[in-house]
């Protein structure tokens, strides 16, 4: 080892970084990990497979909303995709990163590395949570974007027929698709928050990812049991269709408002629990 740089007198008031700096580094870390691209790749691949399947068959998914219009306008493609993807794709994508983002620090033993710098624990927590949510949002954008581009390329961007039977011009249709994706994001944030909590308290990525998926599938199962109908409005899995209210004429905000508060009932306690666990925990590994 060679010459040591002469140490200077340490400053009493070091300029401490803000959450933005930590958040930017969380995104860089995500960019450097393979699992990031697995999730984003799946978000791009599923609409591609869907379009190929539509091209290779004579019919379409007529029984679901917008299914009958899927070969009339590319605007219907991402909407039908959203309906299919709430079952497993997006819970999986959300769990893949949100369920790993804290526990991977435990797995690599790097929590002690970052917690002994000049960044407070709450800043790291907030940055990680924001990074996980950003990833979920990015995956949704990729999914909708690829669906729209492929649908538009195959069937054009003709006006969309709303769920009320009225015609929606292409420009407004695209805005509504964007708004629908944001509405879809609401329960997805709650799923990500649950994955984040499991990641924080289990310190184990596999347990957090699988635990989130089991919880998600369990809610879907509960929703289809006829004797438990009373529970359905309060299950996260049932909130993924709230965006359909935007595609009625006039707009029906009730399902979106309902989805927002139901999702908050899951997300807020999960985030608070994760926060307390993270800032209070002993880092012994």
């Amino acid at each position: 080892m060679t010459t040591v740089p002469a140490p200077r007198v340490a400053r009493d008031a070091r300029r401490h970084p803000g959450v933005g700096t930590v958040y930017a580094w969380e995104l860089r870390k995500l960019r450097a990990q393979k699992r990031t691209y697995i999730g984003l790749g799946a978000a791009a691949l599923v609409p591609l497979i869907f379009v190929i399947a539509l091209l290779s068959s004579s019919g379409g998914p007529d029984e679901i909303p917008f299914g009958r219009y899927v070969k009339q306008t590319g605007l219907a493609v991402p909407l039908v995709g959203l309906l299919f993807s709430s079952v497993w794709l997006f819970p999986l994508i959300a769990a893949l990163v949100a369920g790993d983002i804290v526990s991977s620090e435990d797995n690599h033993g790097t929590l002690k590395t970052i917690l002994t710098r000049s960044t407070e624990r709450w800043q790291i927590f907030v940055a990680k949570l924001l990074a996980a949510l950003s990833y979920v949002f990015a995956a949704l954008v990729v999914f909708v974007g690829v669906g729209l581009v492929l649908g538009g390329a195959c069937w054009g961007l003709d006006p969309l027929t709303s769920l009320s039977g009225t015609q929606i011009p292409a420009g407004r249709g695209m805005l509504l698709i964007g708004a629908s994706a944001l509405a879809y994001l609401i329960p997805l944030i709650a799923i990500a928050a649950i994955a984040f909590l499991l990641s924080t308290v289990t310190h184990n990525s596999a347990a957090a990812v699988v635990g989130t998926l089991i919880l998600s599938f369990m809610m879907q199962l509960l929703a289809i049991i006829s004797g438990l109908d009373f529970m359905a409005p309060y299950l996260l899995s049932e909130q993924f269709d709230s965006w359909q209210g935007l595609l009625r004429d006039p707009t029906d905000w009730a399902p979106i408002t309902h989805a927002a508060w139901v999702s908050a009932c899951y997300a807020v306690p999960a985030v608070l629990w994760a926060f307390l666990a993270f800032v209070r925990r002993d880092v012994a590994g």
Binding site: V4, R11, A13, P17, K29, K112, S118, R121
Partner: protein
Amino acid sequence: MSTTQPAVQARGLVKRYGRITAVDEVDLTVKAGDVYGYLGPNGAGKTTTLRMMLGLITPDAGSVQLFGRDPLVEGVRALDGVAGFVEAPRFYPYLTGRRNLELVAALDGGDAATRIDAVLDTVELADRARDKVGGYSHGMRQRLGLAGALLRDPRLLILDEPATGLDPAGMRDMRRLIRRLADEGITVLLSSHLMAEVEELCDRVVIIASGRVRYEGALDDLIATTAGRYELRTTDDERAHQIAAAQRGIDDLARDAPGLTFAAGEGAAAALSIALGEAGVGITALVPRTATLEELFFRMTEEAPAPDAAPELVAEEVRA
């Protein structure tokens, strides 16, 4: 931060994991400018203490202050001017060495990032800085850990067995580097298993066993406590042992093949030599002997009651 404050002051530190007391009422003071050795067998509570100093774990009782600041009260601001690592330094294996340093520099704020090239040169990792850490050897990771610590421009370096896993040349280089940093005014708290390393580098030490402090103070004072010991070799050690045992002023007598060891003042040692001569026992050697740090370490730590279990292992289990 006041420079008159001790670099580290721990008072009554306690950490329990269930029924196991990993750290039990530990008091220690590291003065600014010290190179302070922290010694203890595996599971003695060394790493747990260091974790409490760095705010990674919360003590059940007691407090620790770094330059007068308590990490539990002031959070990471108490770590200004403090750097180091506990156990093996860990980095993101999927990032390069340089990227890892950029990351920790960003988390440090200030102008830490401007020192990256310099610290990479210091630890001789500049030519491997663009390789992913996943491909680094243990020694390279140790050096990267030290580079990460130096980025903080520290006044206090807390190093947990920094030479562990290094080859002999790496250990020598690490010792030289620590010595040089100390000579340049950085206070060093060095946890180590390597007695020669501690004897070479440290001026003050704490010895801990079963979570309790057995000795804290100057290394020279510790060695001096063993002055007055003698090593005796004779033509008939058995007979010499009997005579010595009966002689006034001879303490702590032990057979130490070949020969005997004992503690005595100069007068008692002289009287013993006369008594041996009168008994026809020839003295082949009678030499004053001071214990090595290693001997003192074993004496202090093996006298300690056996721990119920290795606390750091218990900590790992609790964490798991």
